[in-house]
Symmetry: C2
């Protein structure tokens, strides 16, 4: 397969590229740098990203920003960032990318465990992640030509927990998370929230 | 209790007012007309609504617009409407209303069954409803002074199903839906998605 990976240089994106790269052709897209870049918050940038890439069998997004912080301190702009970037950025990847995906191909987006298991500070992130999962369940019913769509809820990465000073015991490695993306791309599920 | 009901004149709002009105003081807020009005899509309008109303023990929102339609036909503006009105409108009711709610009071918002059970045409509505549920789960962890927050997922109203030409057998009446709001206001739950 020919697979576009948005966020290919990130912690999860690199693991996805490693997991799929030996048997598929990977088109890496980064936020800055590299041959292909995209700004998820800018629909024009997404359209310009797809135009020269041609047909793909799968589009994976392991990128998207949303603001973590105390509810009382989150500003209008903090909420707007998550809505425009991680939420509508990934929705627009689907809306603007569907014509670039081959019959029977797939989209795989990224939400996060805070959608269902919130913590203090996650009001905006939980909204964004849960909203994405709602979108994916619905969009799966309407994508044309047998195109599938799933969303991976990666759970906490061990290194992220360590960096935040949290107990790393409940964490998973990026290579374990990557398996959920592989399952979405190579399997036949659609409309699902996949957890590692 | 003194209870602010936003959307008091709607199908569900009227049933809520009827269910709570005999033992609580209800402050009715409509979209247009009546002594108190609000435009959920406008944070300034929400702030202006709360200012003269004084303290309340509960704020209920049974209002909020989002666009239903085929995914391929939904425009940027269609998505924007749901994000600004039903989603961020209700989030902003909480952010801007928290100082108006008494200790131990509550917020009760409204999502919808499409959050978890989508249908063709619900991509934007499912996103909005699921996002609200994610927000409520998270916000419940942070609201000050014992203030609670829940979201009611009303399910399909029988009359709505009839109006859409769908099988009304799976529908519920507004008075049954209203019980979920009563449970949120008079009970002790928080962070929950309540279904009739």
């Amino acid at each position: 397969m020919r697979i576009i990976v948005v966020g290919a240089t990130g912690l999860i994106g690199s693991a996805i590229v490693e997991a799929l790269g030996d048997r598929h052709e990977i088109v890496r897209v980064g936020h800055r740098g590299g041959p292909h870049t995209v700004d998820l918050a800018d629909a024009g940038s997404i359209a310009r990203m797809f135009a020269p890439l041609g047909r793909a069998d799968a589009v994976i997004c392991a990128a998207g920003a949303a603001r973590f912080g105390p509810l009382a301190a989150l500003s209008d702009d903090d909420f707007r960032l998550g809505l425009a970037n991680k939420l509508m950025g990934q929705v627009n990847l689907v809306r603007l990318g569907v014509e670039s995906v081959a019959d029977g191909g797939s989209f795989t987006l990224t939400s996060g465990v805070l959608a269902q298991r919130p913590m203090a500070g996650s009001a905006s992130v939980s909204l964004v992640n849960a909203g994405l999962e709602g979108f994916v369940r619905a969009a799966a019913l309407e994508l044309p030509r047998g195109i599938r769509i799933n969303v991976v809820s990666p759970g906490w990465i061990t290194d992220t927990l360590k960096a935040l000073g949290m107990d790393p015991a409940g964490g998973v490695s990026p290579s374990v998370v990557a398996r959920a993306y592989v399952r979405s791309v190579e399997g036949s599920e659609t409309g699902q929230v996949l957890s590692p």
